[in-house]
Structure formats: structure tokens, C-alpha cells
């Protein structure tokens, strides 16, 4: 009987040297976590490939094509996977392979009646098999040509490739879904992401996670200036990032009092910078407590007043941990493209106020100096503000 399996291919992981095993194990752990809601699965590795299938036949996750597609999508969202294919697995001799191949192509052509040319590629892991790889290609290809007169062979640029693999079992598949590449999350420490409700910060989190970093996030909530919907939006964005980055803690800092204090006691045109400095300090304290070794922001050079080089310098000074800014040199359009690709864009552009927009001055200082910030913070008890952020109304949401 034939069953569905997923064949996932590893990328950069396989280039690792002596510690390759560590990366591979983490990848398998991450796959298992990402697929935790799909019943009992067997996840096995052979060389640079990972095979995923149901442990028993009564696991419904692999039963239907649709459910299997859902697993396939989830697999491609795990960093470290370059691509994945949904394959048909079955036992039998060469006659069975031909029969299954014809049925497979028949189904494929129903979905894609536009296909006119094809090519067969084969791999033979089981060296006991009586035919060699080129022979398998010729024989399977010939049988397909006999059965589907509308098809012809094109080895250079075919409409579809039929892959036949003969190992302990036989496998058939066509096409592959590209993965998000990168390195397995958990192999590069943990970072604290400053998550607002916008387009940039979720993308920044996604990008660092793609290098193997585990992510925790912090959001600064200013009820009633920002609504419960705005907070829900950030929770939703955190969930989207966590599809790629795995388990995450979202720290929601009650920022209202701190912001009001700032508005009363510091000049309007420096509010944004002052605010960002306090945010960074609170984020750093949370980072240290939760084992994060860096901060991550979605800043992009010159995008807004607080993201000029001078402003970044002034903000950066309060942090002792490295502040990673994966979007610093990236064009907004490109960020939007990534945001769309990871499924965050539609949520990011919902119209609720986010924490940065309510208290923004009409003409913020774009080139702040040390003197400016000294003056702006002279009447503020920054230490008390940071303490307040850490202690008063801090909420931790497990994503």
C-alpha cells in the first residue's frame, strides 16, 4: 500500500564540520516541535535528507493530500530546511513502480493539464535492485510515453520532473517547495526582540531566527493611548514570528506612566529618543534575566527621525548588550516583501495605534547631540522608570 511521506533537504547545516551533528539534532528537535500538532510522526535522517512520515497508518495527518500539504508547508518554515517534497512511498518490484508512476502522472496531469514535456530522474540507494539508475529512467519514461501520448521528453527544460528513488522502499515525487533555508533555531543563542506593531520588527525577528537565534520579545503597551486591539495585534505578530522561531516569551511592559512622565518633564522634540533609550534599558534588563545575549530592533537607517545615525548613536549608548539591527541597510520595499512572504504583512498594517505613533512630536530632532539628551533627561529619574517598567504591571505571555 502506498503512503504519503515528506522528504526534506538540509542546506547550510551539512557544510558544518565536526559539530554538524549538533546542528542536525537541533533541526530534528525543531521539526518535531513545529509538527507537534500532527500526531505521532517518525522523523529520520539519512545523509543530507530528512524523512517525515506517520508512525502508524491511523494517523490522519498524512491520510489526505490536503493535510499532507499542510505539514509540507510547516516543514518548509523550519529554518535549516532548503526544500521539501511530498512523496509517495510504496513497496514492490519494478512492475509495481511503473504502475504507480503511471497513476502518479495521471493524477498530476489532471491538476496540470498544461504539462506537455517531462523528464524522469532516479536514484538507486538499494544497489541490489536489478536495474541501474539510467535504466530506471529509460524504462519508466518509456512507459509514461506509451500511456500519455500528449507528453514528450525534454531533458533540458521539462514542464515537470518525475523523481523515482529506490531505497528500502520505493519513492515517487515531482517538484519541491522551497524552504526558508538558514540555520536551525537554538544553535545561535537567544535574542530579545523589540516588537512594536509595525512591519519592520517582526521581519527583524524572523531574520535573526533564520541564523539560528531563539527569540523572546518585548512590547511596550500604553493603554489607553494604545488599545487592547493593538496589543492583540502584537501577540498575533509574535505568533507569526514564532512559527519560524519556535517557543517564545512575549514581555508586555506597562509603559503608560513612564510615557506620561516623559511628556511632562522633557522637551517634545526629544521624546522619541528619550523613550527609545528607556525602552532599550528595560529590554536589556529583561534580556539579561531571560538569558538573551543581544537585543534586536527593526531599525533601518534614515527611515524615521529616531533612525538617523546620530539618533542611533545616542540610543545605542545606553545598551551594554549588542543591539542587532538586521534591517539597517535594507530598503523598505524589500522588508515589505519579506513581511508578505512570512505572512505578517496583513497583520502589521492593521490600523491600530502602535506605541511609537501616539506621542510622536511633529518635528522631532533628527540629529540629536549629547547635550540634547542630557538636557532632555535632566528632569527624569531614568533608573526609576526602568524599575517601574520591570516591576509594575509587567505581563509575560507564552507564545
Amino acid at each position: 500500500m502506498a503512503s504519503n511521506v515528506i522528504l526534506a533537504r538540509m542546506g547550510e547545516v551539512t557544510l558544518k564540520g565536526l559539530n554538524r551533528g549538533k546542528f542536525e539534532n537541533q533541526l530534528k528537535v525543531n521539526l518535531r516541535y513545529r509538527l507537534r500538532n500532527f500526531g505521532k510522526l517518525s522523523i529520520t535522517q539519512s545523509q543530507s535528507r530528512i524523512w517525515i512520515e506517520a508512525k502508524s497508518e491511523d494517523n490522519p495527518a498524512f491520510a489526505g493530500e490536503e493535510a499532507a500539504q499542510e505539514i509540507l508547508t510547516a516543514v518548509t518554515q523550519v529554518f535549516g530546511i532548503v526544500s521539501a517534497s511530498l512523496a509517495l512511498k510504496f513497496e514492490g518490484d519494478f512492475d509495481v513502480i511503473v504502475k504507480e508512476a503511471i497513476a502518479y502522472v495521471d493524477k498530476l496531469l489532471q491538476e496540470h493539464p498544461e504539462y506537455k514535456t517531462f523528464k524522469v530522474e532516479s536514484k538507486r540507494g538499494n544497489k541490489q535492485f536489478p536495474l541501474s539508475s539510467p535504466e530506471i529512467c529509460t524504462e519508466v519514461g518509456g512507459n509514461i510515453l506509451d500511456n500519455f501520448p500528449q507528453l514528450s521528453v525534454d531533458v533540458h527544460n521539462p514542464d515537470f520532473i518525475l523523481n523515482v528513488e529506490i531505497r528500502d522502499y520505493n519513492y515517487l515525487y515531482s517538484g519541491k517547495v522551497m524552504g526558508h533555508r538558514g540555520l536551525p533555531v537554538g544553535t545561535a543563542g537567544k535574542g530579545m526582540l523589540l516588537l512594536s506593531g509595525g512591519i519592520d520588527s517582526p521581519v527583524a525577528g524572523y531574520m535573526m531566527a533564520s541564523r539560528g537565534m531563539q527569540i523572546d520579545a518585548v512590547y511596550f503597551h500604553s493603554f489607553p493611548y494604545t488599545s487592547e486591539q493593538a496589543k492583540q495585534k502584537v501577540v498575533d505578530l509574535a505568533k507569526i514570528v514564532s512559527r519560524f522561531s519556535g517557543k517564545m516569551n512575549l514581555y508586555v511592559v506597562n509603559f503608560t506612566k513612564i510615557q506620561l512622565d516623559m511628556v511632562k518633564n522633557s522637551p517634545e522634540d526629544m521624546i522619541t529618543i528619550t523613550m527609545r533609550r528607556v525602552m532599550l534599558q528595560i529590554a536589556e534588563e529583561l534580556a539579561k534575566k531571560s538569558g538573551c545575549k543581544c537585543l534586536i530592533t527593526g531599525e533601518s537607517l534614515g527611515q524615521v527621525a529616531s533612525q538617523t545615525l546620530e539618533a542611533i548613536n545616542i540610543t545605542n549608548e545606553v545598551a551594554t548588550l549588542p543591539v542587532l539591527r538586521p534591517l539597517i541597510g535594507i530598503d523598505k520595499q524589500e522588508t515589505c516583501d519579506i513581511s508578505r512572504r512570512i505572512g505578517a504583512f496583513e497583520t502589521s498594517i492593521l490600523p491600530y495605534e502602535d506605541c511609537c505613533t501616539v506621542f510622536v512630536a511633529k518635528h522631532p530632532k533628527t540629529h540629536p547631540s549629547h547635550k540634547d539628551i542630557e538636557n532632555a533627561e535632566s528632569k527624569l529619574d531614568i533608573k526609576a522608570m526602568v524599575e517601574m517598567g520591570l516591576n509594575e504591571g509587567l505581563e509575560i505571555i507564552e507564545i
Partner: protein, 380 residues
């Protein structure tokens, strides 16, 4: 909790809830009013009684009303159904830009089909330009007038008697559709006296339940149905009738009509008190002086609408920014802008809307809470 958002929806009254429970647990009332057997007849008789009761309270005949799912369905059915059935009645429809979205979107839809929709300007009190109305009607091509009896955002009351006089004088054949969703139970409504041709009503705005409305269609006004099928409700809205929903509407309406005069007086006091106290505190009242007391649109200086809404919410006070249907679109109210209210004031506006269940104590507490909000959250 202080619930000042009764124009969005209202709490179901105890009597309505009881009527629904009784209806659902009565073994003799679950039949399909269309069935030929005894159970069907029992349900059918009860249904007719209920309908007659509603008709009596609205001042019309029981053959002149159909049940809908909501006010919006009534509006759609009236406008689209009339124009579809009466294609030679004229190609112009007159309305205003301050209508509810149910009307505006429907008019936008028919404008695309070649109808000429004329939107009359409104003044600061939200009243349409009647001279322009007369001028437009005199052209002789107007199929329909579409107006709202009471504006949902400001409480502006339409001068419907004046409009009917002008219409009857200049263009008697033009039909009038009136959206009565916000006026029902608050103003006296006698459809025969009003003289309009069609009117829509909603159950959940008068302490009934969501899911039922009523559309009035005057005898001799012909419309095409919006929902076709088994021919129920004179073929104007097919689908098995719900005795439970019809009765819920009847009970809510009866209560509203009985309480109306007292409620009007009581809510007028609350409105006057709030107007005075809020004005003292520098707020701007957007609702016209002669508006319906059940709605008070007010701009709080220094607070964007949404911030004020959430600040009040944190004290258990529920109000609305612009009408709830469009409050996620994040633009100042189009109704206020159309009335010529300054954009800045419109952006700071919230709507308080009352029902007969609100009390003076709540109004006083509301003012105290507004003071607290200013103390705690005013920026600069």
C-alpha cells in the same frame, strides 16, 4: 459598568429574553407556520397575532410589514427592491451624505448601474437643504427619497413632515424610504401619519435581540424580493418565519412604546446635565440643540476619540467613537465632516448614547470619571 453605547446595540430586556425562552420551550409552538397540520396552524396563528400587534404599535396594517434579519437588510431590500420593480419611476434618487453605511453603500451600488444619486448638503444641525430638495424634485425624474429619521452619530432629527409636504406638492409619485432604526421607541412613530412609503426597523436597538428587523412597505408600493424561495411573507422575503424572533421584536416594541414618553423625559434630563457639565469642562458638543436626547456627540479637547474610548473603558464606561460599523477604519466620522465640523474636533469626538435604563447617577459618575481621565491621561 456604565453603558452609554445604546445606539450601537442594547441589552436584551428581561421580558424579551423570557419570551424567547418561553417560545423555545413551548412544545406547541415549534411548528413551521407554513405547515398544513395542527402544529403549523398553531404557530401560524400566533405569528399572525404577533404581526398584528407590531403593526398596531407602528400605526400600519399587518399586511404592510415583513420581517428581516436587521436594519441593513431592510434598507437594502427597500432601495434595491423598489428600483428593480419600478424601472420607469425615474432615474434619480435623492439622499444625503450623512446616511448610515447601509444606505450609502447601496446607493453607491445603484449609482454604478446608471442611477443618478443626488446627495443634498446638510447644515451644522445635520438637516438637509430643503430648497435644493424642492428644486431637484421639480425636475420630475426622482424615483425615490432615502433619508434617516434620526442620525445614528449625532441624533439629528430629520424634518420629515416638511420633506413630505414638499414631496407631495412637487412630486407626489416619488416614494420615500425612511431609516427608522435609531428613532424607533424614541420618537413617536405612526407610519400612516408619517406618510412614508417604506421604513426599516431593527430589534436589537430597542432592547430586543440581534437577528431580527422589520421592513414596512405601504400598500400599493411594489417591490421585488431580495430573497426568493418558498414564497413566505407574501413572497417578499422567503425563508421559514421565526416565531421566536418575531415575538422578541413584538415584546421589545411594546415595551419601548409604553415606556417612550417617560424615557424621553428621563433621558432628556441626563442629556441636559451632561451637556452642561461637559461644556463647563471645555468639551465641544457636536449634537444639535434640537437633536434626539438619546444621542450626545461630544469632542473631548486633548483626546483623540479612540484614546478617550479606551480611557473610559478602563473605568468600565462604554462609549463609541464613530458608528461601530466603521470604527475600525480609523478616519474621523464622515457624518461630522459632512456637517461642516472641524476635522480636529471630529477626530476628538465620541458618541454617548442612552437608553431608558440609564440613570442620572450614572451620568454623575460619568462626569467624575471624565475628570479622572483628564487628571491621569491628558498629554500636555
Amino acid at each position: 459598568m456604565i453603558y452609554f453605547d445604546n445606539s450601537a446595540t442594547t441589552r436584551t430586556s428581561d421580558a424579551v429574553a423570557k419570551s424567547i425562552y418561553d417560545n423555545l420551550t413551548n412544545d406547541e409552538l415549534f411548528g413551521n407556520p407554513g405547515s398544513l397540520h395542527k402544529l403549523g396552524m398553531t404557530a401560524g396563528n400566533k405569528y399572525n397575532e404577533i404581526t398584528a400587534d407590531i403593526a398596531k404599535n407602528l400605526g400600519c396594517k399587518n399586511t404592510e410589514i415583513i420581517y428581516t434579519s436587521c436594519g441593513t437588510e431592510g434598507t437594502n431590500t427597500a432601495i434595491l427592491g423598489y428600483l428593480s420593480k419600478n424601472q420607469r419611476a425615474g432615474k434619480t434618487i435623492i439622499s444625503t451624505n450623512t446616511e448610515h453605511k447601509a444606505t450609502l453603500e447601496t446607493l453607491g451600488h445603484i449609482a454604478k448601474q446608471g442611477y443618478n444619486v443626488v446627495y443634498l448638503k446638510v447644515d451644522k444641525a445635520g438637516k438637509p437643504d430643503l430648497a435644493a430638495l424642492e428644486e431637484e424634485l421639480a425636475k420630475g425624474d426622482t424615483a425615490m427619497l432615502c433619508f434617516t429619521h434620526v442620525n445614528n452619530e449625532t441624533g439629528s432629527v430629520l424634518p420629515i413632515e416638511d420633506i413630505m409636504k414638499i414631496k407631495n406638492k412637487v412630486s407626489p409619485k416619488t416614494v420615500v424610504f425612511l431609516d427608522c432604526v435609531q428613532s424607533l421607541g424614541k420618537l413617536e412613530i405612526n407610519l400612516a401619519k408619517l406618510g412614508v412609503d417604506m421604513a426599516s426597523f431593527s430589534g436589537h436597538k430597542i432592547h430586543g435581540v440581534k437577528g431580527v428587523g422589520v421592513l414596512y412597505i405601504k400598500t400599493n408600493v411594489r417591490i421585488d424580493p431580495f430573497i426568493r424561495g418558498g414564497g413566505q411573507q407574501s413572497g417578499l422575503r422567503s425563508g421559514t418565519q421565526s416565531l421566536m424572533l418575531a415575538e422578541s421584536f413584538a415584546v421589545a416594541l411594546k415595551e419601548a412604546v409604553e415606556a417612550r414618553a417617560n424615557a424621553f423625559e428621563h433621558v432628556s434630563e441626563i442629556n441636559a446635565y451632561l451637556r452642561e457639565e461637559l461644556t463647563k469642562r471645555g468639551a465641544t458638543i457636536n449634537s444639535p440643540e434640537d437633536g434626539l436626547p438619546f444621542v450626545l456627540n461630544v469632542a473631548f479637547d486633548g483626546f483623540q476619540s479612540e484614546t478617550m474610548l479606551h480611557a473610559l473603558e478602563s473605568f468600565g464606561v462604554y462609549v463609541s467613537t464613530v458608528s461601530a460599523c466603521s470604527s475600525k477604519t480609523k478616519k474621523p466620522s464622515y457624518v461630522l465632516l459632512e456637517m461642516g465640523i472641524d476635522r480636529k474636533i471630529a477626530a476628538n469626538s465620541v458618541r454617548l448614547s442612552f437608553s431608558r435604563y440609564n440613570t442620572m447617577d450614572e451620568a454623575k459618575e460619568f462626569i467624575a470619571i471624565v475628570d479622572k481621565v483628564y487628571d491621569m491621561y491628558l498629554v500636555r
